[in-house]
C-alpha cells in the first residue's frame, strides 16, 4: 500500500469542503485531500491526476454526482468513487451503486464509517493496482520464458545434455 494516499472530495457546499478534508487529515495519516466545488472542476482535476479515491455529493447544480460518476467510470475506470447521499434517498443509492459507485455514505456523515469505507475503497484500489502490476510482471515473465524456450528450441543439439 502506498504511504501517501490522494483523495478528491467534490461538493457544492464550501463548509463541507472545509470540514471533511480536515476530518480525513485527522483520522487518516498521510492522506492528501483535494477539493472541487463542482463536477466540472472535479473532471479537470481527474484529467491531470490519478486519485486513490473520489468522494462526491450526489445533489449538485449543473452536472450532478451520478453524471460525474459515469464520467469517472469512462475516464478513470479504476478510480473508486464514493457517493454522498441524503438520508433515506435509497433510490439514488441504488442508482449510484448500479452506476459503478464503490460505496455510499449517507448524510449526516459518520466519520468512523466514512473513514472505514474510504480505507476499504483505497485498499481495494491499491490491491487491484498491485494485482494488475503483478499480473503485468507475470505476463512479462511468461513472455520472457516463452522467448527463452523458443530460443532454446531453435538451437541445434550441439551441446549434448548430460543426460544424453
Amino acid at each position: 500500500m502506498t504511504t501517501t494516499m490522494s483523495v478528491l472530495i467534490v461538493d457544492d457546499d464550501p463548509a463541507l469542503l472545509q470540514a471533511l478534508p480536515q476530518a480525513l487529515r485527522l483520522r487518516m495519516g498521510g492522506v492528501t485531500v483535494e477539493t472541487a466545488d463542482s463536477a466540472a472542476a472535479a473532471l479537470e482535476r481527474i484529467a491531470v491526476q490519478d486519485y486513490d479515491a473520489v468522494v462526491t455529493d450526489i445533489k449538485m447544480p449543473g452536472m450532478d454526482g451520478l453524471a460525474l460518476l459515469a464520467e469517472i467510470r469512462t475516464r478513470r475506470p479504476d478510480t473508486p468513487t464514493l457517493i454522498i447521499t441524503g438520508h433515506g434517498e435509497n433510490e439514488l443509492v441504488v442508482r449510484a451503486l448500479r452506476g459503478g459507485a464503490c460505496d455510499f455514505i449517507q448524510k449526516p456523515i459518520d466519520r468512523g464509517y466514512f473513514v472505514a469505507a474510504l480505507y476499504r475503497a483505497i485498499r481495494a484500489h491499491a490491491l487491484n493496482r498491485k494485482v494488475k502490476e503483478r499480473q503485468l510482471a507475470l505476463e512479462s515473465c511468461a513472455e520472457e520464458l516463452e522467448r527463452l524456450v523458443q530460443k532454446l528450441e531453435r538451437q541445434p543439439r550441439a551441446v549434448p545434455g548430460p543426460a544424453e
Binding site: L16, Q22, A23, L26, H87
Partner: protein, 383 residues
C-alpha cells in the same frame, strides 16, 4: 111712517093751526130722510170703495195664485231634481257602503298581513342570528383555511428545506467531530480547535435561520395588516426556495427597480404568494432546456405591478382561468395539491389586488400581480 106722514098732512088740512105744526114735523122728517139718504149714499160709496178694494185684492190674489202656480211648478221641478239627487245620493251611498266594506276587508287583510309580517320579522330575526353565527363560523373557517394554506405551501417546500437543514447539521457533526479528534490527539494549538468550533457555530446559526423562518411562516397568527416591503417578501420567499432552485439549475433574476414598493398587507401572506408562484415556476421549467425565472416590479399611479415570468412549458390554452381554481392541477397525482395558485389568488384578492396570467403559445407563463401601494408615510416624506 108714510102712514104717519099722511095722517099728519090730513091732520094739518083738518086743522090749519095744526097744519104748521104738521109741516114742521114734515120738514124735520124730510131732513131726517135726507140725512139718512146721504148717509146711505156715503155707505154706498164706502161700499163701492170696499168693492173696488176687494176687486183689487181679488186681482192681486189671482196674481198671487198665478205666482203660486209658478212657484208650485218650480217646486215640482225642484222636487223632481231632489228625487233624482236622492237617487244619486242613494247609489253613492250604496257605492260608499261597498267601498267601506272593501276597506274593511282591506283592513282585515292588512291586519292579517301585519300578523304575517310579525311572524316574518321573527323569522328574520332568527335568520339574522343564524346568519351571524354562520358568518362567525365562516371567519373561523377562513382563518383555518389560511393556516391550512400555509401548511400546504410548507408541505410543498418540505423536501427542499429538509435538504437545506441536513447540510448544516452534517457540517456541524463534522466540525465538532474534528474538534473532538484534535482534543483527543492532544493538539496544543488552541486556535485550531476554536476554529473548528467557530465553523460549527456558523452552521448552527445557518440552521437556526432556516428553522426560525419556517416557524414564523407556519405559526397560526392573526392576519394583521401593516406597511410591508414587497422587496423583503420576495427576498424571504427566495431565501426559502434558493437551495431548490440552485440544485435544479434554475436561474432567477430579480429586477425591482431602484425604489422599494411598500404595500399594506401581511408580510407572511405576501411571502406565501411568492413561494407559491416560485414553486409553480420551479415545476414549470423542470423539463425546459433553459430554466429561467424573472421577477420584475414597476410602481406607478398608486399601484405596483409585479411580474413573474418562467421559461417553462406554459399553460395550455383555455386553462388560464381554471388554474386559480382550488384543487385544479396539471401536475401528476401526488406532485401538487392544486391549492397553491388558488391560495395565491385568495391572498391577492384580500389585499385589494388582482392576479392574472398570460401564456402565449410556445412561451412560458407570466403572472402579473397588481397591488395598491401603501399611502406615503408623512414622516418619511417630510424633508
Amino acid at each position: 111712517m108714510p102712514e104717519t106722514a099722511t095722517e099728519q098732512r090730513q091732520a094739518a088740512i083738518a086743522d090749519p093751526g095744526a097744519a104748521g105744526a104738521a109741516e114742521h114735523r114734515l120738514r124735520a122728517h124730510v131732513e131726517t130722510l135726507e140725512r139718512r139718504l146721504r148717509k146711505r149714499d156715503e155707505q154706498r160709496r164706502a161700499m163701492l170703495h170696499i168693492m173696488g178694494d176687494l176687486s183689487e185684492f181679488n186681482k192681486r190674489l189671482a196674481n198671487q195664485r198665478k205666482a203660486m202656480l209658478h212657484v208650485l211648478a218650480d217646486y215640482e221641478q225642484d222636487r223632481r231634481r231632489l228625487a233624482r239627487q236622492t237617487e244619486r245620493l242613494d247609489s253613492s251611498r250604496r257605492a260608499l257602503l261597498h267601498i267601506l266594506q272593501d276597506s274593511h276587508q282591506d283592513k282585515l287583510r292588512l291586519e292579517a298581513s301585519r300578523k304575517a309580517m310579525i311572524h316574518i320579522m321573527g323569522d328574520l330575526r332568527e335568520t339574522t342570528a343564524e346568519m351571524q353565527r354562520r358568518e362567525q363560523e365562516l371567519r373561523d373557517k377562513q382563518e383555518q383555511l389560511v393556516q391550512a394554506g400555509k401548511l400546504a405551501t410548507l408541505g410543498e417546500l418540505t423536501t427542499g428545506v429538509a435538504h437545506e437543514l441536513n447540510n448544516p447539521l452534517n457540517n456541524i457533526g463534522l466540525f465538532v467531530g474534528n474538534a473532538v479528534d484534535l482534543i483527543e490527539l492532544a493538539v496544543t494549538e488552541k486556535e485550531q480547535i476554536v476554529g473548528e468550533l467557530d465553523h460549527a457555530m456558523q452552521q448552527v446559526s445557518k440552521a437556526t435561520e432556516i428553522i426560525s423562518h419556517l416557524r414564523t411562516f407556519g405559526r397560526a397568527a392573526p392576519v394583521s395588516r401593516e406597511p410591508t416591503s414587497l422587496r423583503d417578501a420576495i427576498e424571504r420567499a427566495l431565501s426559502l426556495m434558493r437551495e431548490q432552485l440552485r440544485l435544479r439549475d434554475i436561474e432567477v433574476t430579480v429586477d425591482l427597480g431602484a425604489e422599494d414598493p411598500v404595500v399594506v398587507g401581511n408580510a407572511i401572506q405576501l411571502e406565501q404568494v411568492f413561494i407559491n408562484l416560485l414553486t409553480n415556476a420551479r415545476d414549470a421549467v423542470a423539463e425546459s432546456p433553459r430554466k429561467q425565472i424573472r421577477i420584475a416590479a414597476a410602481a406607478g399611479g398608486g399601484a405596483v405591478e409585479v411580474s413573474l415570468a418562467d421559461s417553462g412549458h406554459g399553460i395550455p390554452p383555455g386553462l388560464e382561468r381554471r388554474i386559480f381554481d382550488p384543487f385544479f392541477t396539471t401536475k401528476e397525482v401526488g406532485k401538487g395539491t392544486g391549492l397553491g395558485l388558488s391560495i395565491t389568488y385568495g391572498i391577492i384578492n384580500e389585499h385589494g389586488g388582482t392576479i392574472s396570467v398570460v401564456s402565449p403559445p410556445g412561451e412560458g407563463a407570466t403572472f402579473f400581480i397588481h397591488l395598491p401601494l401603501a399611502p406615503p408615510d408623512p414622516e418619511e416624506t417630510d424633508p
